[in-house]
Amino acid sequence: MKDQQLLQETYADLLHNETDPALLQLIQDLDSICNAPQPPTRLNWVEVRVMHTEQTFEKRVNILPFRARARQGRFLKHARILVAAIVLVLVLVGVGAVAPISNRLGGNQTAHAYTQVNQMQQDQDVKFTLLGAYASSSVTILVTAVQIGNERGHLVVPDGTLTYQQENLEISSASVFVAHVSHPNFSCQFYSYSAAHPPVDARTVTLIWHVDQISIGQLPLTRNPGQTIHGNWTFQFTILFHHDTSSPDTSTIDLTQC
């Protein structure tokens, strides 16, 4: 509750130097009512910054953007994911096509290397290999190869969480971009997430990638939403963090391992 002098200063335009006690009381009450609510602690700048970065990223990259908001129902989410993937997937056949798509995801304007991870997790018939990852102030990119049974030519859209361990902060829930690079002999998936926000002196970040469901797009692509497989594929890994917005150099990851 404001004291009378502060009240008169704040609302001088409404009080007109009046000393009407009823008007003063009314203004006091309105001030109390209107300024009582406190914003919840969940309101924070980082969330806005991340959402804005994602929007900017979506505008500039335009490769398979889709949103996987945690609040959305899984069915709806997957329907959207697969429609987006099917409509927009870039399927490039032939070795010569790998470099252009790689440049789109990484670009070689600046030479920042992916950190090799090479972890494999298998659940049921699905073998997930996390080949490498890259983290900067603008983006986190995971490069994977997925083998289902004996086949490796699928477009795989993961559902799960990517958590920045040091802050126990989930960074995966907002957006994922998928680019699928296929070749008769290999197929890679690039998953791009919003950036982690480690302390300014951090040289590395430790991430936990937990996938509990995958949706499989068929090749050649159709509007069929494809198969969904539930499972548990969890990776924990530490990679270099680049305190800038530079792009990763995709030539530093061996796509032939896919």
């Binding site: 009314l26 009512i33 309101l43 804005h52």
Partner: protein, 191 residues
């Protein structure tokens, strides 16, 4: 076609107090928007809460307003419209759209449980204050939405009559006149 996802270079904004300088800094680097976010967060939240009446919705809308402001910031020109008016105009439009979609009958009274309203007063004063506030809530609920909007912009958002005029698209004298009349009417009804 070349793709690039190089974002604005992050650098710490200089310590600047002047709002115009903060806005210019944020235009050059979105990260520098944070001081403006901190400055307006509570005011925007309160304004939106009193518009949409639900804490969850108000919090979501607050973030939406800032996101929209951040995206639209490059086109903002300080000449003619203060930043606060520009920001609350975005909030005004977003809240209006939401209000149209959810024209629910949630009472202004939903805010009356807030302990923050109760100062340390004796029991009798406390009861009198509660009765007065309850009566005021009822009067506010019965107010024409436009008049209520003006009150919220003045008291919750802390905008001047000139800024309110820019938000709601009326002239400054008209806003000032309407505010004075509304307060006068409320005062009479409170007696």
């Amino acid at each position: 076609m070349e793709y690039s996802y190089t974002l604005a270079i992050d650098s710490e904004p200089d310590e600047v107090d002047d709002e115009a300088a903060l806005v210019e800094a944020a235009k050059a680097n979105p990260k520098a928007f944070e001081p403006l976010y901190q400055r307006y967060k509570a005011r925007l939240y309160r304004y939106l809460l009193l518009r949409v009446r639900r804490e969850e919705d108000a919090a979501d809308l607050t973030q939406q307003v800032f996101l929209k402001a951040l995206s639209a910031l490059p086109s903002y020109r300080a000449r003619g419209i203060p930043f606060a008016a520009w920001l609350f105009r975005i909030a005004h439009h977003i809240a209006s759209d939401t209000y149209r979609l959810k024209k629910s009958a949630i009472s202004w009274n939903t805010l009356s449980d807030d302990e923050g309203l109760i100062a340390e007063v004796n029991l009798e004063d406390h009861i009198l204050q509660q009765e007065r506030l309850t009566h005021l809530y009822q009067l506010l609920d019965q107010l024409d939405p436009f008049k209520r909007e003006l009150l919220v912009l003045r008291f919750s958002a802390g905008l001047s009559a000139r800024e309110i005029a820019l938000v709601v698209g009326k002239s400054q004298p008209a806003v000032k006149k309407q505010l004075t009349r509304t307060l006068q009417r409320l005062k009479e009804q409170m007696v």
